[in-house]
């Protein structure tokens, strides 16, 4: 394997692998969130399962956190190296003539998503950790005996500013995915007769998933 991840091609590959993992996670997260629109009970049960099943908590969750950090750190490393590859820039650079805005600004859309993740962790993850592991309450219920997850979700989306920030972040997520989805396939060497179809699917994914998240946030705000 001789230093594969020290090479430019290897780094690309690693970036793509973490991207695949995060894109699959996103679908799973979306599916569970969507349940909240259809049935509070099913959403509660799914959330309780995810929040207490040891495989999810102690295996998938650490992998996910590692995946996010890896993707971010690698993205930064690539950005710095790439900036250093051209110390004197062009006076006139017409990027739009040959590439999309999304493809040239992954670092910025990514940074916005990272900031959003900070807020999202503060909103949901930290309170979860506090309830479950600091206060030791693994029951997942309120004092009334009912599950707490749906309650908590609705409560978070009361504040109009938070909802606005969430929606804005999803727009950036969409921009990131509009390039990222097909880019990840290209990086692992998949460019063949399916590429055109895959590009179309990627565009649909990059629009439908973030739009769905926006819909869910607005749904809970107005209900």
């Amino acid at each position: 394997m001789g230093g594969i991840f020290n090479s430019s091609v290897g780094r690309k590959f690693a970036m793509a692998l973490s991207a695949f993992f995060l894109m699959i996670f996103l679908v799973q997260h979306f599916a569970i969130n969507l349940l909240s629109v259809f049935s509070a009970d099913t959403f509660n049960e799914a959330s309780h399962f995810m929040g207490t099943f040891w495989v999810v908590q102690y295996i998938f969750q650490p992998i996910l956190i590692f995946g996010v950090i890896f993707h971010f750190v690698m993205g930064m490393v690539l950005e710095i190296r790439n900036k250093n590859a051209r110390s004197i820039g062009y006076v006139k650079y017409n990027g739009n003539a040959n590439s999309t805005w999304m493809s040239r600004n992954m670092i910025y859309t990514g940074a916005v998503i990272l900031l959003f993740l900070g807020l999202h962790f503060y909103d949901f993850w930290l309170p979860e950790i506090n309830t479950k592991f600091i206060q030791g309450d693994m029951s997942g219920t309120l004092a009334s005996g009912e599950y707490r997850y749906y309650e908590e979700l609705q409560h978070k989306f009361v504040d109009v500013w938070r909802v606005a920030l969430y929606c804005l972040s999803f727009v950036f997520l969409s921009l990131h995915l509009l390039h990222g989805f097909s880019s990840a396939f290209q990086s692992v060497g998949a460019n063949n007769k399916y590429t055109k179809g895959l590009r179309g699917f990627g565009k649909a994914y990059a629009i439908v998933i973030p739009l769905g998240f926006i819909f869910i946030a607005l749904y809970h705000h107005f209900n």
Binding site: R81, N94, A97, N98
Partner: protein, 248 residues
Amino acid sequence: MKLTLKIWRQKNADTKGKMVDYPIDGIDGDMSFLEMLDILNEDLINKGEEPVAFDHDCREGICGMCSLHINGEPHGPDKGITTCQLHMRMFKDGDTIFIEPFRANAFPVIKDLVVDRSSFDRIQHAGGFISVNTSGNTIDANAIPINKHDADEAFEAATCIGCGACVASCKNSSAMLFVAAKVSQFALLPQGKVEATERVLNMVKQMDEEGFGNCTNTGACEVECPKGISLEYIARMNREYLAASLKG
């Protein structure tokens, strides 16, 4: 046509350069871009000034010598052509044209618009060759059956003229399109199979050592490449590289 040229002037590799304005008149739409620069240079020489240094050789789009970043794009605003094939009809009377050297640390400026692209040569030396028996028993290449699809793909890759526009257009100064073309033109043919594993590893290693950036798949190179080399070749190189890394 009357134009204002904004040209990067730099005495040599060790001095700092700057953009200098040159008004020019009497330019015809049928002139090539390099002819327009020739006129400017004649003018400068007549005035006793230093002419603008720029690279060129064949002036028919086959040698890859001409470069120039024109109005924010390598080889200018037209597509599928080199600078020597760019015509002044792409511009309008009164236009301001920015003319800069290809920018990348791996392509240092030698003088004005001339850059040193020998980093490409070193990448080629690292693996862009095949072993051929030259002891008198050379097998005629035409005697080796090659399927049409592979032959066409290898040929297409081989049309890369090593101009460096891919690097110049890339926001990351990545040389992946060039290297991918050079790796593929051999990898697709039976003669190239012998060194396939080392070739891709060595050429990528050399590319990284030369200080080119990392590809992020913006696709700018493919759009700006005068020979239309496709991103598919980069995907092929990625596959070849991964397979070779696992083997070697």
